[in-house]
Symmetry: C2
Subunit: 334 residues, 2 copies
């Protein structure tokens, strides 16, 4: 399609992120929302303007399945914001491609699937190429802060010896589901129990490490990761939680990738209620050494932005499974 | 050419930046230096390893003209580091394209020529496309800090109202020619005289403003710029200069681009001997507001890095005149 033409968008998934991407689509003159999909019976059949709190009726009813959409909803691209994990989203993405649309997805495991999920990535890439369509996984983290941005910064380095990225989030400033996700209000035993069942911690660090190693041509010898609880030393009250002294107020997560026996990438993710820091840091050791500090990178706002901003790039991209290191810079409104 | 093949590089221009890019090329296993060009009679005929202080002989003699190179020097790409200005480099780039090579240039006016030099840019683009070759202008500033990096950051913004970038350089830490370029040791009268003849100030702010406006789809209604001297309030001694109290120790430069009557981009460049700050700041007002602070972005090291790092991207790029906003992220070593 030509630049300047309106791009027709279907919103697939109407959780908090999907509702926000749908709202942003309706605010962009170059984009037109033409359909919405969500499996939640409480949402199916309602106007997406109502479900996504747009303050207006759009005339677009939420469908349970992509195949339920009218033929009038034929779209150029689907904004996909459902599950983080391949076993759930794989068939959804394949179905979208069969529908003849490009895909921008916020699924964390799609941000760089070539390391942690190579086989599934190859399968998906093949399906996309056959459909002559593009799939992009993006978001602020993974997709930006701990991978494509550090990589972009290495452009001004003659040599890179080590990359360190740290994200510190004062979760008191974030929405309730985020506060819950980091373990707020759990006992230490409950936290450990969730850890053991693999349901605790930020998703996406292996994807970020994979993108850094692969793009810089380093072999990844070893990957380690850990998640530790951060415990309240006094009662904390937010709009969503009351956390007693001794209960969990957040988590401290580290992922390391090693090359040639030495740590090459270290990612640290800290999110806790009343955490004193709320910023990101990237340190690159090499020639020159770089230190970058970012403030204001609100995860929800930023993920919604980058997903919608990526639409034009995905429309312009060649077919296949792309990641943020493969495309020209995604910029606001374009 | 295929990924993994050695890329054959000619170095065109052996000033301080060109000597350093030539050195970095010889350090990269994927690159091979195969020729060197400089018009300086003091350099012509000597081994480039000697001219560029590589601490070794390369067997490559510096030629005065591109056409003097042996046929054995047939190369894939030319690293072009001569003049900042179109009237000087236009014929050089055209000659390189005629020679059948891609071009990576550090010429400031090439970083984004579509605004300040549109006609020449269109001519050059046509020549490049006809030759089926790619031309890229890059560097740390213009090319990165005040244009492609802020643009990359807008990727996580839902809306951008205003962009501000500030670069502060303690010039005491930089080489002699840089200290001279910013007016060190001049009287105020001499500074004003040089200003009037257009020989004072950082080159590239119009290019950075042009890239920001054009990429974000904003019309540029008005462009203003100013250069003010920074005067020493005490005697300053560096390895290269003694600046007396009352003499110039540097400059403070501002460029502003307006859209719809309001300032949309403001760039501030400060470089002075013994300046207390030595970092970069990018502020984006919008949703969300972003503040980014960078340390370590040494101009010489960074420009050399990004020029050499861009080679692979230029080899892979489609024919024509490209700028940093058109290509996937340039990363270290790739």
């Amino acid at each position: 399609m030509k630049k300047g033409q309106t791009i027709r968008v279907i919103q697939y998934g109407l959780g908090p992120i999907g509702a926000a991407t749908a709202r942003l689509v309706t605010e962009r003159s170059e984009l037109q929302l033409v359909g919405a999909v969500d499996i939640d019976p409480a949402k199916v059949g309602r106007d997406v303007g109502d479900v996504a709190s747009m303050g207006m009726n759009t005339g677009i009813r939420v469908c349970e399945r992509l195949s339920d959409l009218d033929s009038t909803a034929r779209a150029d691209v689907v904004l996909h914001t459902t599950s983080s994990f391949f076993p759930t989203f794989m068939d959804q993405i394949a179905e979208i491609l069969g529908f003849g649309c490009d895909v921008v997805s916020t699924s964390e495991e799609l941000a760089f699937p070539w390391l942690a999920n190579r086989e599934a990535a190859e399968r998906l890439s093949k399906i996309a190429k056959k459909a002559k369509k593009t799939v992009l996984g993006t978001g602020v983290n993974p997709g930006f802060l701990m991978d494509s941005l550090p990589l972009f910064l290495t452009g001004i380095c003659q040599r890179v010896d080590r990359i360190e990225a740290m994200r510190a989030i004062n979760a008191s400033l974030r929405r309730g589901p985020f506060q819950a996700k980091i373990g707020s209000g759990l006992s230490l035993e409950e936290f450990e129990e969730r850890m053991r069942s693999g349901r605790m911690g930020h998703i996406g660090l292996p994807e970020s490490i994979g993108m850094c190693f692969d793009t810089l041509g380093r072999p990844l010898d070893r990957y380690t990761s850990s998640v530790e609880p951060i415990v309240a030393d006094r009662r904390i009250r937010t709009d969503h939680f009351v956390v007693e002294k001794g209960q969990v107020r957040g988590l401290h997560q580290t992922a390391q990738g090693f090359s040639d026996g030495a740590e090459f990438v270290r990612l640290v993710f800290i999110a806790a209620l009343d955490w004193s820091e709320n910023h990101d840091e990237i340190r690159i050791r090499g020639v020159p050494d770089l230190e970058v500090r970012l403030s204001g990178t609100n995860g929800d706002l930023a993920t919604v932005a980058i997903a919608v901003n990526a639409i034009q790039r995905v429309i312009d991209a060649p077919p296949g499974l792309m990641t943020m290191r493969d495309l020209p810079p995604v910029v606001c409104g374009g």
